[in-house]
Symmetry: C2
Amino acid sequence: MVKVKMFDAKEANNSPRKAAEVPVVDANAFYAVLESRRSVRIFTQDPVPEDTMRRCMEAALKAPTSSNLQTWEIHWVRSSEKKRLLIEACLGQPAAATAQELVVFVARPDLWKRNNGWMLDHLQSSPETPGKALQYFKQITRIVYTQGPWSLFRPFKWIWFTLRGIKKPTPREPIHAGQMRIWAHKTTALAAQNFMLAARAEGFDSCPMEGLDSYRVKRLLGLPRTAGISMAISVGKRAEGGVYGSRFRFDSSHFIHEH
Amino acid sequence: MVKVKMFDAKEANNSPRKAAEVPVVDANAFYAVLESRRSVRIFTQDPVPEDTMRRCMEAALKAPTSSNLQTWEIHWVRSSEKKRLLIEACLGQPAAATAQELVVFVARPDLWKRNNGWMLDHLQSSPETPGKALQYFKQITRIVYTQGPWSLFRPFKWIWFTLRGIKKPTPREPIHAGQMRIWAHKTTALAAQNFMLAARAEGFDSCPMEGLDSYRVKRLLGLPRTAGISMAISVGKRAEGGVYGSRFRFDSSHFIHEH
């Protein structure tokens, strides 16, 4: 979600743009995966192969991520003792208790600076990196994501963005630690959805769980207070009666608005 | 992500559980979609059929959603005047300026109570609804998601959850409006990822954009201050040069941790 202009859109809109070659894909096969993904709360005893788990986790990390800063983590809890503790922290719910595998998706807003440094290392290692890309990770991300200790820069950022915003479009967030958390949680959830769909594509099922004791989960995973538990996700094969009723959504006219 | 126990996991773990019938799916076809999804920043002039857009939006709304409360919205900006304003609010970036279609994913933590009422209406309309499901939407969601005006209940919830948490696993969030925002943004991002993958499956491409003026976007869409702009997403056909470089992720060993 890089914002630097590397292209003059107005200029290009005057001449037709050539289509790029893109792999041919099968929409029906994709929708079969998406439609059959349900939150499964009772799993069979069939194990999930390690390879499957690894492919699903790698698929998760191919989600788009804000400024490519990858402020996400996946914690795969494999030891039976830690699994027992994680099931407890998930309030013992059957989706956790009957799961064959359990992972925890974690948002790491606190690691944006480390990752920004890695991005710079990566970009600087190639002579073909456009100057604007370098500038983005040298200046823009630092202005946007630095909030100061205890979000001390908040009032200054607010005044600056608000005054600038009177005359021209100006990003308003993030200007404090709470908004940094939202920012990292969004990116992490995009990855989590990739993971759940990949599990379904592999013939397995999943259940995302937010009803958990985040304090205990952080202690179990050795995570600092600044990390955010996005959700635990269980994986396994769907058991009979494992889906509680048919999918129910309110009429989409409540959610899809046209302007 | 319902937490009510409708099933005794310990009991069931003693007897093998029968697998449910699940549609057969094609993992390779799914991965072809996932792998070819890239953030596309320059689109061709080819239009996106209205049907395609509707299928992608419906696919979005099939993502899992916390407590099934569906605190999400998709705003599809179709009029050319509003599109012009939205492109401006997206800072004129090419991914917006060259997009054929533009949607905005919006988190609506402020609408949880309305949707909880709808869930109750739905459940109460069927005589087969288990009592625990009714109890969940009558009591548990109300305890969990009610924060009081200006999050006044925060200190009480904090003390209650912290004391209870000493002895037994206890959810720690959400206890204030900021955590309600995180909660709704997570659910909305899950839907956004479905949308982007569906667009790819349909032969189109997308770009999620968070670098935008949320104040102007809310004004444009007639949204209250309490709504949260998750991201704008552009849709179109990938133009030559529309992807800025090959996909770059740091080594996954930084993000995948085993316990």
